[in-house]
Symmetry: C2
């Protein structure tokens, strides 16, 4: 029974807890047991306090049925750069180890209001910025990374420790762990979900990310966070016959490892077999600059974002953070502004391109999760994610395929800005097809 | 002596306290006495705790000379939407009255590291969003508004209660109170100063603002916050003979009251008399849309920003906040995105225009501070500020002129993005000329 409870989706849990068929406390105990069994291997959690969880669970059980929200009792892991009032937010930084902010981020407040059981804080790289990973391992092969910077959130959901988790993405920090852990991940349109109460790295890029093991669960979260398209899509399932997919290799395609090249063709074949039209989309040369522009923005916005920590505790910062704070790259204001302005010009252009297809499809990652080496514990390559982050388009990682080591390799579906509902409707149909890729949790 | 201490600029205070000529505690006592005398009239403070101030002052006095920062002992008022760890941040909202975030915003952390004496929390409209003002009155005429939303910060600096204060600007919330209280106000380039730990209204617009009674003090703050131009301006003073000023009426010029029309011509005459060239700049019709685009952005970004408060405490929100949270204006995603994209296109255009002049000059406000009427306590018209906020350009309010009731009316100097150093060098020269306008504190 315990094991089964851990496998439930958020939607399934809420149905059981809202009706009273399942006590939140019993559900919480099952998850706690799962975490206690797996934590010594996976190391997903920066803060995990069973007493606090059970206390919250009992408070939820005491609520009368009519006060139970759409996420009643659903366990959610919170990336440790997102502030929580009742749990420390340490940002994997010694600065905040014993002296952390006390407040609920807007996303956490919304989740609590909807009845969620805030389950604990998941590991992140320092300030969701650094290359050096936390102790988290990939649950499907502990020698490999779970990705970053939302390492713990991706691993915890992929390992059935919680059905939902929050991440953030500034480069590829939501989508990459989504792929590496073999789960669904949604990076919504920039600023569609409030980032109030999250550590800031880059205002232009930082985005709250969502993890789940089912498309229904992402839809549930989008509904809660009011991610509504101007024109809601039909409620009927998408018929792939008649759908048209734009496959976008992008300028970083040379980084694709053989397994990505393989699944690229597999995905096309599967969609065609399902009756869909498929075509490769060549973006104009302007888009080739996005990686450089993204880097300029991160470095210059990181300069102001990390200034206060640098001034107060220079000795406690990871060298990568310090590089930002002191503008080690000597990026100029002019380069920063040109990057912002040129990217801004491309946003309506890519919206227009994306709107010609049911969705765009692009790699989520360069390959399977890489083997970690100490002391860097590198969390993998974000190259395929950066451009969509800075272009502000919503992206879903769809699991389904696997690489030569049997580990998951996802593909990303991309829609024009503020088309999350349509994107998820398409994700339902595509995920059924991609399931033939052989990856199962 | 007490009175004299209150009149010191931040630069003067720091010189005295760093050398040990002035004890921070004595300085703090003088300011506390001033606040206690004036608070019953001005109502600048949302939180003011003399014991806490004196405790901090004594801790600063105990620091050895070599550890004293550039703001050693300088009193700074903090707008009550900017989080402070040791003082409540209530945001003029009943939601946060007894249950407020506990952390230092990045700006506060930086100020503390530089030795500032965090003096108290200054009044704001609810979430720095609403039209309804707090109890703050204009120190120069208590029947009139001190402006908003940074009401208390503007009033406290204008009333010699503190030499420096922090505000924020999403529409005209820094520049307008600057004008109404007859002081200097700088709204820097968007995101040049970290907004970590500030309540979010609109990510695209919200900007930390700075108040002082001297240009030197703004330069000191810019230095601390590392607002460096790519090419720092000469250290020598600007010679107005040879300078060229672009006077921009903008599409909201019809809102200018007679006193603004008057000082517009006065300012031109004074600058010409000082040897400067002066010309009117007509912006293209595209810029006429900025007010509407700004409104669309605020409403749609306010929707996600205020969602969590709306879900948790709908009954405790000002109706203006609720209008945002429920998208009462029925603004579409399409309108929101078009607004973002069209404004983004204009940013390099206005940078280019501004770079042809020493600075641009534009009204800060529509006129003198209006008389307040209960219960709205309207904080004045922000029309002249909105477009610069959303275009992200740095703006300084320069006091100098006065209206028919003897109350201050400022003008704004505007520079291309990330040209704060050059802007302040120009402000020095211009403020000497504008001083002939007759306004003195």
């Amino acid at each position: 029974m315990s094991q089964d409870l851990c496998k439930l989706s958020a939607t399934e849990v809420a149905n059981l807890t809202r009706s009273g068929e399942l006590k939140v406390e019993d559900y919480a105990k099952a998850l706690i047991a799962r975490v206690q069994e797996r934590e010594p291997i996976v190391h997903a959690w920066a803060y995990f306090n069973p007493d606090l969880i059970l206390q919250s669970a009992r408070a939820l059980d005491a609520l009368p049925a009519e006060q139970r929200g759409p996420l009643h009792g659903v366990a959610v892991g919170i990336k440790d750069v997102i502030y929580t009032k009742d749990m420390p937010t340490q940002q994997y930084s010694p600065i905040y180890k014993d002296d952390h902010p006390i407040l609920d981020a807007a996303v956490v407040k919304t989740l609590r209001t909807m009845g969620a059981l805030i389950f604990g804080k998941t590991h992140t790289t320092e300030f969701a910025c650094c290359q050096k990973g936390p102790p988290t391992c990939n649950p499907h092969d502990p020698s490999r990374t779970a990705g970053g910077s939302s390492s713990g959130s991706g691993a915890a959901v992929g390992d059935f420790q919680v059905p939902l988790a929050l991440g953030t993405q500034t480069g590829g920090s939501t989508i990459r762990p989504g792929s590496y852990n073999g789960i669904y991940a949604l990076k919504p349109t920039w600023n569609a979900i409030s980032r109030e109460g999250l550590k800031i790295y880059s205002l232009t890029c930082d985005t709250v990310g969502l993890y789940s093991r089912s498309v229904d669960d992402l839809e549930l979260l989008c509904d809660i966070f009011r991610l509504k398209d101007d024109t809601p899509p039909p409620t009927s399932p998408l018929n792939l016959s008649g759908a048209k997919f734009g496959f976008v290799k992008t300028h970083v395609w040379p980084k694709a490892q053989p397994e990505v090249v393989d699944i690229w063709e597999q995905a096309k074949s599967l969609l065609k077999a399902a009756g869909a039209e498929v075509e490769e989309v060549d973006l104009s040369a302007k888009f080739d600059n996005l990686s450089v522009w993204h880097r300029n923005i991160l470095h210059m916005e990181g300069q102001s974002s990390f200034l206060s920590e640098y001034l107060a505790h220079p000795e406690l910062l990871d060298p990568w953070v310090t590089k930002h704070a002191v503008n080690d790259t000597k990026t100029t204001r002019k380069e920063h502004l040109e990057s912002l302005d040129e990217i801004a010009k491309l946003r309506p252009v890519i919206d227009e391109i994306a709107s010609k297809y049911t969705v765009l499809i692009t790699p989520s990652v360069t390959g399977e999760p890489p083997v970690m080496e100490e002391p860097l514990r590198f969390t993998g390559d974000a190259s395929f994610c950066l451009m969509w982050t800075v272009l502000h388009l919503p992206v879903v990682n769809v699991p389904g395929f696997k690489g030569p080591n049997g580990l998951p390799v996802g593909l990303s579906l991309v829609a024009p800005r503020y088309h999350e509902q349509d994107l998820l409707r398409t994700t339902h149909a595509v995920s059924e097809v991609f399931a033939e890729g052989g990856w199962t949790l």
